[in-house]
Symmetry: C2
Subunit: 335 residues, 2 copies
């Protein structure tokens, strides 16, 4: 098979750029790649990999790279900076910053599916918390106040899941086991076996009045930005609660906080925010019946990077073989 | 059937005493009883019911009553105060205050099972919250601090359930659906099909080191008071968390709070306390990684009183027919 091996100079140039702004659990390390390559010696001989975690040194690597594995970087003017770049694999599922600015001939794939089991569990946790009035208890605890409030079981109640992708589907499976009814909202409204009733995004307002809970896992795109504004939140019943595990700017957080302060919604769990880290001056921190988790609820610390690497290596083998990649992002739609 | 009907004077005298110290959702009202009696006209003709919610007026009713349905009262000196009393049905599952002071010839039945689905859901909610680091997020939120921490899925982890009765069993069923392993601890240690491994109470210390979570649903008895003291809590792994939905005095809450402050346990959810309402001066309110709910997490506001009434009316028909009652409390054991 010697003839099949590429010469060192002809090897596929891959650059791995980790994001210095995110926690280390997300980093793809040389040790992780080496371990995987031991199981794929044929592939190992065809590639040359460089690593970085410093925006100031990125362009030197980009000038040579054909493939970029990245946890996020500033891609402005990329066509000139990376003339040989053909494919970017994101280790994140959300690619709202990358998608709009990439040159048309660069393929973008994301890590949709990386969150799987953990994110579904956290979504179910958040729904149960709201149903069982934990936001109320936590708010009362801050004031050292014994303030009883009695909930009813979640079984039989309805959750509207906005975005029935990997996380939404995992949540739907668990919600079913708790005897919940499931409404789905997706761009197309195509039927989904996990969902009792699907709505197209344009019919969102028809889906909201019947929801006891709204769970959004939506990516941030031109169509989803501000999707849940004041008018949409006003369509929810007063006892309803809201969970956001997708992207912060999908919801008008100020309108949400206002409704929570007025008792016009039961509670909310937000894991994502328009600005992250959420500034310490933000009024959201002290909003009653709102529980904040700092954009890590969906990620599994022991397996995130390895799961992202699974997706990349699957795609790398496809790329080398000239086959169709998985998780290709429609850059116009943004996911 | 005229001969079967008791004369007014010979009717079974039942007194319903609601507890002014508990929330109204627990009250058994005349309207609730009337509604039930329409479905049981034969029974209705044999009973005479009085109602009260005032300790100062209770003794007048007790002097006449053969049966007492109660949400809790001071039973000191009851033999002299209620010479004709044969049976007390408690609308509470926990009867630690009543059991030790009753005359030997008065039967005591409790409302074990009344909590069923709601309590199981709340137990699972609390386990998921601890696993997904919600106590950490809530503590950081109080300080307006963006403090990421990454969890792993709950699937495959182990919960030790102390007290595998109605609530413990409901929790075990849900925990199984999340792929958890279940250790049970009961007085006898008798095998239970919901539990992977049962321990007798005397072997509690063997069960703790292998637990990722401890859930206690134990009643308060001479044997359970202080069962989880400093020494027992020290046997838990540092990453473990604790949930108490039974009775507060089963746990040394000060030792628990100390371990939480030192980071020697991951988190805790307490719904019950040695003194309730928990005084506003209690240090527990501000303990890091501790979430407090005010003794209502297990009760279903829409169905609690009706479910307690189900148990009472089942028992009343048994009583009238001379059959064995259900939920009879062993006054020596206290549950």
């Amino acid at each position: 098979m010697a003839t099949a091996k590429r010469a060192r100079s002809a090897r596929l140039r891959i650059h791995v750029e980790n994001n210095p702004a995110t926690a280390e659990v997300y980093d793809i390390t040389p040790a992780m790649i080496r371990r995987r390559m031991r199981q794929a010696p044929g592939l190992a001989g065809q590639i040359a990999i460089s690593y970085g975690k410093d925006p100031a040194r990125l362009d030197a690597a980009l000038a040579e790279a054909e493939i970029l594995l990245t946890g996020g970087f500033d891609a402005t003017g990329l066509a000139a900076r990376a003339p040989g770049l053909r494919w970017i694999q994101s280790t994140s599922a959300g690619v709202e910053k990358l998608a709009p600015v990439l040159p048309p001939d660069v393929i973008l794939t994301n890590a949709s599916g990386v969150h799987g089991p953990k994110a579904g569990e956290y979504a179910m946790t958040a729904l149960l918390m709201i149903n069982h009035l934990v936001p109320h208890y936590v708010t009362a605890q801050r004031a050292r106040r014994w303030d009883q409030a009695f909930a009813t079981p979640i079984a039989g109640k309805t959750v509207a899941i906005l975005g029935v992708g990997a996380i939404g589907s995992a949540a739907a499976r668990l919600a079913r086991r708790f005897g919940m009814r499931i409404i789905g909202v997706s761009r197309s409204g195509t039927a989904n076996r996990l969902v009792d009733r699907m709505y197209a995004a344009k019919d969102l307002r028809k889906a909201l009045p019947g929801a006891d809970f709204v769970l959004t896992t939506l990516p941030l795109t031109a169509e989803t930005r501000g999707l849940l504004g004041r008018a949409e939140l006003d369509l929810l019943p007063r006892h309803a609660g809201l969970v956001n595990l997708g992207r912060g700017a999908v919801i008008d957080a100020d309108a949400l906080a206002d409704k929570l302060r007025k008792g016009e919604l039961s509670g909310a769990v937000l894991d994502v925010f328009a600005e992250e880290p959420l500034p310490s001056a933000s009024a959201l921190w002290g909003t009653p019946n709102l529980i904040i988790s700092p954009h890590c609820a969906a990620d599994d610390s022991t397996s995130y990077a390895e799961r992202a690497l699974d997706i990349f290596l699957d795609n790398l083998q496809r790329y080398v073989a000239g086959r169709r990649l998985i998780n290709v992002v429609d850059k116009r739609l943004g996911y």
